[in-house]
């Protein structure tokens, strides 16, 4: 038995799809009404702003309630492990509270349950770590966190927990590999292999509505890490950082191979994006290639930052204008129609962010040598020109 009703989630997704078809005029309004009647709305509907507020206030309430409990119990026994026990008990209590609230009021990601679902594993993990007499190394913490997070993800299909789990996996792996002499040189390869494995796993698992967001997130993250682990800048600078090297970082072994992957991996993404008409691969290809160009610039570039920015901006504007003109009529399976399917909120609001930041940049007088708005690489890879 999972937290939310799986059939209800499937039905909700089905309705969303039909509603989209209706706005595109592919399904008649009468049909939509009939389908709506066959699949009545099961979950509470709220407003995004209300959800943000509820999320915030639930987190604050739960944290202060935990504070209250620890203060009340602090008289009994002082020490870290008793704090841990309180946290675990509190987490278990929150778990049952979540179950009750969701069941009683038909919630599904309405802010309150988002917050509770997030807090339950955090209290459990924090409590378990506090039970240790001394704080265990980071990779042990990750090892403790992973099964709890995975169980909670299975139970809830929550996306924020998926980020935490991915962070625990990659972070723990990174930290553990550094303990071995052979680990350091193999680090990028192991990361690439793990990413490919994760991607393959996420693509092979049955695509159920309950886990659709989780799986899509795993795919995005694994591809970003794959490209970053193969990026020359990331590998070389990280290597320099680990050697605690000051000044210019030393050359890395297998230089040619990493240069090949720097360009090769985003190129493969581009190919896949073009062939499969996949938004994810197209976006990652553009970001990855931008990061690759930035990497070349970083080591061989002679242009000052200002020139580089202006040239890059011009090139980007030119490419975008060219593509928009080219796609006036759909071509090669791509189009420029506003079909209302923006993939990420950030993409949709890029214009607003640009205007705000651009205004701030333009107004800044050169009182110091620092200028804002310089770093732009993306793809989680090298972003310093």
């Amino acid at each position: 038995m999972k937290l939310y009703n799986e059939t209800h989630i499937e039905e909700r997704d089905l309705l969303r799809q039909v509603e989209q078809w209706q706005t595109q005029g592919l399904v008649t309004a009468e049909q939509l009404t009939a389908i709506r009647a066959a699949y009545p709305r099961r979950f509470k509907l709220t407003n995004p702003f209300i959800e943000i507020g509820l999320f915030l206030f639930t987190i604050i309430a739960a944290m202060s309630a935990y504070g209250l409990v620890t203060v009340l119990f602090s008289g009994l026994n002082n020490g870290q492990s008793s704090l841990g026990v309180v946290a675990i008990l509190f987490g278990i209590g929150l778990f049952f509270l979540t179950k009750t609230i969701v069941g009683d009021s038909n919630l599904c990601r309405n802010g309150v349950d988002n917050a509770l679902v997030l807090l339950v594993p955090l209290f459990l993990i924090g409590g378990l770590i506090l039970l240790f007499p001394i704080t265990p190394p980071f990779w042990v913490c990750c090892l403790i966190a992973l099964p709890i997070l995975l169980a909670m993800i299975w139970y809830t299909g929550d996306t924020i927990l998926t980020y935490f789990a991915l962070f625990a996996l990659y972070g723990g792996l990174f930290h553990r590999l550094l303990d071995y002499g052979w680990g350091k040189p193999l680090l990028p390869f192991i990361f690439m292999a793990v990413s490919v494995g994760l991607y393959a796993l996420a693509s092979r698992l049955p695509n159920s509505a309950y886990y659709a967001d989780v799986l899509s997130q795993v795919r995005w993250t694994s591809l970003v890490v794959l490209a970053a682990a193969g990026n020359y800048f990331v590998v070389r600078e990280l290597n320099g950082l680990l050697l605690d090297h000051r000044g210019a970082t030393p050359e890395i072994p297998l230089r040619g191979l990493f240069w090949a992957t720097t360009f090769g991996i985003p190129s493969v993404y581009a190919l896949l994006g073009f062939r499969r008409k996949s938004r994810m691969f197209v976006i990652l290809a553009v970001l990855g290639l931008a990061a690759a160009v930035a990497t070349v610039r970083h080591y061989y570039g002679t242009w000052p930052l200002s020139v580089a920015l202006a040239v890059d901006g011009t090139v980007l504007i030119g490419l975008a204008v060219l593509a928009i003109r080219l796609l006036r009529a759909p071509r090669y399976g791509f189009s420029d129609d506003d079909d209302g399917e923006a993939p990420l909120l950030v993409v949709r609001h890029a214009g607003t962010l640009t205007t705000l930041q651009g205004t701030a940049n333009a107004q800044q007088q050169p009182t110091g040598p620092r200028f804002g708005g310089g770093d732009f690489g993306g793809g989680g890879a090298g972003d310093a020109y």
């Binding site: 607003t352 705000l356 333009a362």
Partner: protein, 326 residues
């Protein structure tokens, strides 16, 4: 759930004739992938990089390149952008209209950002406005707001409002997640309060007279946040006048709450509750400061206040949405 699963389910339940389902499946299989938002995001980022780069370039290299070349080329680019935007300008109307070119809006944006760089440079090099620094920000701000209304451009409106805010001493830099204020200075607080009120009034008048009514939300959100942050800063920073600012904050929060109820816009309800909660908590904390209350009291207060705020949001949402959704 893929579109094909949806179609299978609908066919099974007899909610869609098989021919239509097959046609829809065919459509889903062959429909082109729309890169609409991605391409526009790319255009925006390009404009940001270009104007950022040029803005840097002129200060770094004006001695080598020379004023004439710099001012000349940037002015030319700026003028060209404005001319392009003007050529494809939307019809003069109080309703929502759009440029007749896909690129009109972006040209206007580019022109405005270049104009800002140009003006900043003129002030830096030639001391155009002398020591009247306020004027140097105020003039473009007013120009941009006017342009925004003429060209019906939300982005340029945002630039104008940002410039107005920085005129009263508040800078917003989203990419650095930073909000810089000078709210330790009481006149700045009052200037921000005044600007917030002016923007709210503009929103109200525009809404009532149906002049670019779709700007209402932006104006209210910008003006409202400015007003509430300024009042909150008053509560935090001026010890003798805490209660006065607290009272004004309360009035503003109640006002937003009332507006939210009337208009069902929950952003404003959330703003009222969050700013009100912060202000009240601070005032209460200030009142009991030095009384050495046990920590339980504080924890209990935070728990109850947050639960109360959450319940307030839920019940009001239910009340307001009942007659709408059912």
């Amino acid at each position: 759930m893929s579109p094909f699963d949806v179609l299978t389910a609908l066919k099974q339940k007899g909610l869609m004739p098989p021919e239509q389902a097959d046609a829809l499946a065919d459509y889903e299989r062959t429909k082109p992938l729309s890169l609409h938002y991605e391409l526009r995001a790319m255009l925006s980022v390009g404009i940001l990089l270009l104007t950022g780069g040029l803005g840097l370039l002129i200060y770094e290299h004006y001695e080598e390149i020379g004023d004439v070349a710099i001012l000349g080329s940037i002015t030319a680019l700026c003028v060209a952008s404005f001319v392009f935007a003007w050529r494809f300008r939307p019809a003069l109307s109080a309703a929502k209209v759009s440029s007749r070119s896909v690129f009109g809006d972006y040209a206007l944006l580019l022109g405005c950002l270049l104009f800002l760089s140009l003006e900043g440079y003129a002030q830096y090099r030639f001391n155009l406005f002398g020591t009247r620094y306020g004027l140097a920000t105020f003039l473009p701000a007013v120009l941009f707001v006017a342009l925004a209304y003429r060209f019906d451009h939300q982005g340029v409106l945002t630039i104008g409002l940002t410039a107005l805010a920085s005129w009263v001493g508040v800078t917003v830099r989203p990419l650095e997640l930073r909000l810089r204020t000078n709210f330790f200075d009481e006149p700045t607080v009052w200037a921000a309060v005044g600007l917030g009120l002016v923007l709210i009034a503009m929103a109200a008048v525009g809404h009532r007279q149906r002049v670019k009514a779709h700007f209402t939300h932006t104006l209210l959100a910008f003006g409202g946040n400015l007003l509430l942050i300024a009042l909150l800063a008053g509560v935090f920073n001026f010890e003798g006048k805490r209660l006065l600012y607290g009272l004004l904050l309360l009035v503003a929060c109640v006002g937003f709450d009332q507006y939210a109820r009337r208009d069902r816009s929950f952003l404003f309800m959330l703003m009222g509750v969050v700013y009100g909660d912060i202000g009240l908590t601070y005032l209460l904390g200030d009142a009991v400061d030095g009384m050495a209350l046990p920590p339980e009291v504080y924890m209990l207060y935070f728990t109850l206040a947050s639960v109360g705020a959450a319940l307030y949001l839920i019940t009001n949402y239910r009340k307001l949405s009942r007659d709408e959704t059912l």
